[in-house]
């Protein structure tokens, strides 16, 4: 492999990836270890934020670490003994040229490159069973609802949507993705970024309208099982009702990873499901795409750690995980032929063609606000009449109260 020299030693890495994700990451670094003689010691844990927060305060850190999101990354970069800048480690200009607009910037904090995105996912996909819904790709949010109404006339008992918000301590996150997609299509990428950086008023017209749109989705009339089921259903089981006979719902909104759950837990076969992108609400904001990404940062600037960071963003390395499935690369040099299936290929094309790339807002927010946002989603779903007090409370948290 080009550009790798044998320097030996080891680099310690900690991240949230476990199970098959951990296997994929180890495959990704295998050529690196072979070529450089550097041992990559990876530990996966779901307690990542706590371990890193503790580690920074105590000065006891891995060399390289996965980061839960840009918001937490900024927190960690600002603390003494926190993340090191990567501007001299990687060629930032070259990295930007190879990525969609706004993609690399998600790893920057006040002009310094702190994190790099190892793998991405495209959010805002709407899944359906092509044997049930045959209305084609909707041109707008209103068109989607019209087409759904038409399809539902022949399907009594079926609802338009399936939503599952339960995810243990992180319950509500699928709903935050919903809201982010609505805000992005309704108010555009600029407002979206203002909002995600904590500078928009929650109890203002934009967020009120977005919450109301989400509210109609999870209302008893439009969602399978009603709001109680929405809050009680694990996100992994959220789309299972697409495939029952008769179907519980027409559509399910989720990122690209969900196909794994369709097959493992929903009794679906490949071919039973297909997606279209989240339609425009306000046509002047067409072409923006929301994604998430797994960021990596560096705590100790050892030569081994720097070599690893440099290696991980190369198209060669990116292609390895992409080919194993479950990841989209932001690198334009990774050929779409590298993707193992049609869905990930289409997701990657959408990502690379995007006019603007916005990042999952709940991950961008400072963690206290992000957590309060998720709780707000759950509370709103349970009782929509509380909207005003939920938004006021989010404004309080945003203001540091």
């Amino acid at each position: 492999m080009t550009g790798l020299t044998n320097i030996g030693g080891k680099v310690t890495v900690i991240g949230t990836w476990t199970g098959s994700e951990q296997d994929s990451f180890m495959c990704m670094v295998k050529p690196f270890m072979d070529a450089t003689g550097i041992q990559v010691e990876y530990t996966g844990t779901r307690d990542l934020t706590n371990i890193l927060q503790t580690g920074i305060s105590a000065g006891n850190l891995p060399d390289v670490a996965g980061l839960p999101g840009p918001g937490v990354m900024a927190d960690f970069a600002s603390q003494p003994g926190g993340l090191k800048p990567l501007d001299t480690v990687i060629d930032v200009a070259k990295y930007k040229a190879d990525s969609p607009p706004g993609y690399v910037e998600k790893g920057a904090v006040s002009g310094k490159q702190i994190g790099v995105i190892i793998k991405a996912s495209v959010k805002g996909l709407i899944w359906f069973d092509p044997k049930v819904y045959k209305g084609g790709v909707p041109t707008s949010w209103d068109d989607l609802n019209t087409k759904a109404k038409a399809a539902l006339t022949s399907l009594p008992g079926t609802k338009e949507w399936c939503v599952g918000l339960e995810s243990g301590a992180a319950s509500g996150w699928p709903g935050s993705d919903w809201l982010e997609d609505i805000v992005l299509r309704q108010d555009g990428a600029d407002f979206y970024n203002t909002w995600a950086s904590g500078k928009a008023k929650w109890n203002g017209p934009e967020l009120q309208a977005a919450f109301k749109t989400f509210g109609s989705v999870v209302s008893a009339d439009n969602v399978y099982g009603g709001p109680t089921t929405v809050n009680a259903t694990n996100f992994g089981d959220g789309g299972n009702q697409l495939f029952t006979t008769p179907p519980g719902c027409l559509f399910h909104h989720q990122a690209s990873f969900i196909t794994d759950f369709f097959i493992k837990q929903g009794h679906a076969q490949p071919g039973d499901y297909d997606f279209f992108p989240f339609p425009d609400i306000n046509t002047q904001f067409t072409g923006a795409i929301e994604g998430g990404g797994d960021l990596f940062g560096m705590f100790n600037d050892t030569p081994q750690a720097e070599a690893l960071i440099k290696y991980l963003i190369t198209p060669e390395a990116q292609q390895i995980w992409v080919a194993r499935g479950g990841a989209i690369s932001g690198s334009k040099s990774v050929p779409t032929s590298a993707y193992p299936d049609d869905f990930s290929k289409r997701s990657a094309e959408a990502l690379n063609a995007a006019k603007a790339f916005v990042f999952d807002a709940s991950d961008l927010m400072p963690s206290a606000l992000g957590t309060a946002f998720l709780k707000g989603i759950v509370d709103f779903t349970q009782d929509q009449t509380k909207l005003d007090s939920i938004l006021t409370n989010l404004d309080t948290v945003q203001g540091g109260g």
Partner: protein, 322 residues
């Protein structure tokens, strides 16, 4: 052979030798102290290792926490009692305080009560060991495992759909509507306390059963020969003799109820008005809000003060009696 196993074998011998060696060593040293001074020196040497550990791992961090509770989010500025003021004025904090009090009362009553019941019942049958290990089992299951178990107990599907949760299958089987056990306050807090009771009853049982075995059989037999019914024997002999142990178990359960947050964290994440003080503290620690988290830790400590006072009184009585 795996070098780890050799390491293990060494540890197996070395660690017990070291701790026993400590006592033999200090007693050897004490022999050089004038006999009159020995009683005042000895306790400190016996206590020294424990206090060394406690100081490093608990006392020193607690002092730091106390200081932290008077500072702002990043621990840089002194803010006085602002963090405490927040706890007692913020709605979410107050609701978690309220829930912690419910936990404290109900978990203590339920776990100690059922622990006592099973300890006494199992004591009377030949398959005691087996029965005890079955009640003990939930404690041996990791919290991850317990979370998964109860996820499948409380699972909710809408009416008409196939229920995969044990409780809702029973409910719909009996003709009722399925219940969203974890969503409707205040019943959801009770449901979570039942999970905790399921886990901690085995703990109470083991300690109470140990104490039960310590009660002189002759005494019980004598009472029975005198014609006392089982209930009378329990009320007049067994229960009073168990009382110190019941106090110990209750104290431990009160503290467990205040401290343990894993169940709530895994099952509801503190949503639907189920949050408790310990979980709120954990959430604030992980969002970097150390000042408020520290203040909550201090509040937890303050909540246990009455229990501490009671314990000291009890130990004075114990010593006066013997």
């Amino acid at each position: 052979m795996d070098p780890k196993l050799i390491q293990f074998a060494i540890v197996l011998v070395f660690v017990p030798a070291a701790v026993i060696g400590y006592i033999l060593l200090i007693e050897r040293v004490l022999a050089f102290v004038p006999p009159k001074r020995q009683p005042s020196v000895r306790p400190w040497l016996w206590l020294a290792p424990a206090f060394l550990f406690l100081t490093i791992f608990l006392i020193y961090p607690m002092v730091q926490t106390l200081i932290r509770s008077l500072s702002d989010k990043l621990g840089t500025n002194f803010v006085g009692l602002l963090n405490y003021q927040y706890i007692f004025t913020n709605g979410d904090s107050l609701s978690s305080l309220k829930n912690s009090v419910i936990w404290l009362v109900l978990l203590t009553i339920l776990a100690v009560g059922s622990g006592l019941l099973v300890a006494i019942l199992f004591d009377r049958v030949r398959y005691e060991s087996l029965a005890k290990s079955l009640v003990f089992m939930p404690l041996a299951i990791s919290f991850v495992g317990a979370g998964v178990i109860w996820k499948f107990m409380f699972d909710y599907k809408p009416a008409g759909a196939t229920q995969i949760g044990t409780l809702n299958a029973a409910a719909t089987g009996l003709g009722f509507d399925p219940v969203a056990w974890l969503q409707n306050a205040p019943a959801n807090t009770i449901a979570l306390i039942i999970v905790a009771t399921w886990i901690w009853t085995g703990f109470c049982m083991v300690i109470l059963s140990g104490a039960l075995k310590g009660i002189s059989t002759e005494l019980l037999e004598a009472a029975r020969v005198d014609g006392a019914t089982e209930l009378q024997v329990f009320r007049t002999i067994t229960f009073p003799l168990l009382l110190p142990t019941i106090a110990v178990v209750s104290t431990t359960m009160i503290i467990t109820a205040l401290k343990a947050f894993d169940i709530v964290y895994v099952m509801t994440g503190g949503n639907f008005d189920t949050n408790i003080v310990a979980l709120r503290m954990y959430q604030q620690l992980s969002t970097g809000d150390t000042g408020r988290a520290a203040a909550l830790a201090v509040v937890l400590l303050a909540l246990t003060l009455p229990v501490m006072v009671y314990n000291v009184r009890r130990f004075r009585e114990q010593e006066a009696q013997r």
